[in-house]
């Protein structure tokens, strides 16, 4: 019994010490990765989405606090179901996507990491850039590591692992120079943002 326990501890230690950070690519050809944003408005809330997501997150499955990397969103791919609203949203007065075509979040620090099996949670502090304005924010992140599941997603064409990242957080559009203090009767200042992303690390 003692020998078995000792062996298990040794193997676990060896696994952890040998674990290397793995780079997960978040460009998703299947179009499943998505970001949903929501703003309250008097008639109905404005709900938009995007699949124009790319970026790389480097994660050590054995040490969740070692997450690093950057998620990039092509701002021109943000869509809302109303065409006129879409035109205004991407235009110069709101997101000004011609001048600022990217929205980014770069991981700076991982706080309060907790690991349970293949899942982990943490508060991720990072630099969020929107419309050319960068602010440091902290978002609660849930990470699920799916070893060997890339093959299931690519019909066996690629072997590798998947990393699923989920987070919900809020920002104030005024903080990023988007009509600060204006049109508050039409569109709320607060934007609810939900990210559901899967990154792939081919072997």
């Amino acid at each position: 019994m003692k020998f078995a326990t000792l062996l298990a501890i040794t193997l676990a230690s060896a696994t952890i010490s040998n674990a290397q950070p793995v780079a997960f690519d978040f460009k998703d050809p299947k179009g499943v990765n998505n970001i949903v944003f929501k703003l309250d408005a008097p008639l109905e809330s404005i709900n938009g989405t995007t699949n124009g997501i790319s970026g790389t997150i480097t994660a050590d499955p054995a040490a969740p606090e070692k997450i690093a990397g950057k998620i990039v969103v092509d701002a021109t791919t943000l869509t809302v179901p109303n065409p006129l609203m879409q035109e205004h949203m991407l235009g110069d007065e709101w997101l000004s996507t011609k001048a600022h075509p990217e929205i980014t979040f770069e991981v700076k620090e991982v706080l309060n990491p907790k690991k349970s099996g293949n899942e982990g949670t943490a508060d991720v502090k990072g630099a969020f850039t929107l419309k050319g304005v960068t602010k440091e924010i902290t978002v609660p992140v849930k990470v699920t590591y799916l070893p060997g599941r890339l093959a299931d997603r690519t019909n066996g064409k690629q072997q590798g692992d998947l990393l699923v990242v989920r987070t919900n957080f809020q920002i104030n559009r005024g903080d990023y120079g988007i009509k600060q203090g204006e049109n508050l009767d039409k569109v709320s200042d607060v934007i609810d943002i939900s990210l559901s992303l899967a990154g792939a690390a081919a072997k």
Partner: protein
Amino acid sequence: MKPSLHTAGLAILALGIAVAVASSALWFAGGMNMGWTKTYIEIMKTDEVTGIEYPDKVSRFVPGVDFLVPGIGAGIVCIFVGAAILRAHRKTYAP
């Protein structure tokens, strides 16, 4: 000239009714959407491998109140203009 004014009044009146009825009919057919007009709807799906829920966009025109109100408004304006022309015509040619 005189009968054509009467015809124009009738035509504008009919156009107004048609626009108002068509706007209302399209709005009813689109599910009486009390929000903004949409050119697509989203159906939520779940990726089997990752468990990620994602919106699948389906092209569909769903008229909203921003479609209904201008439609009915334009129809009412046409009805009033048509009726005014017919009334003026009737007064002019009343026995």
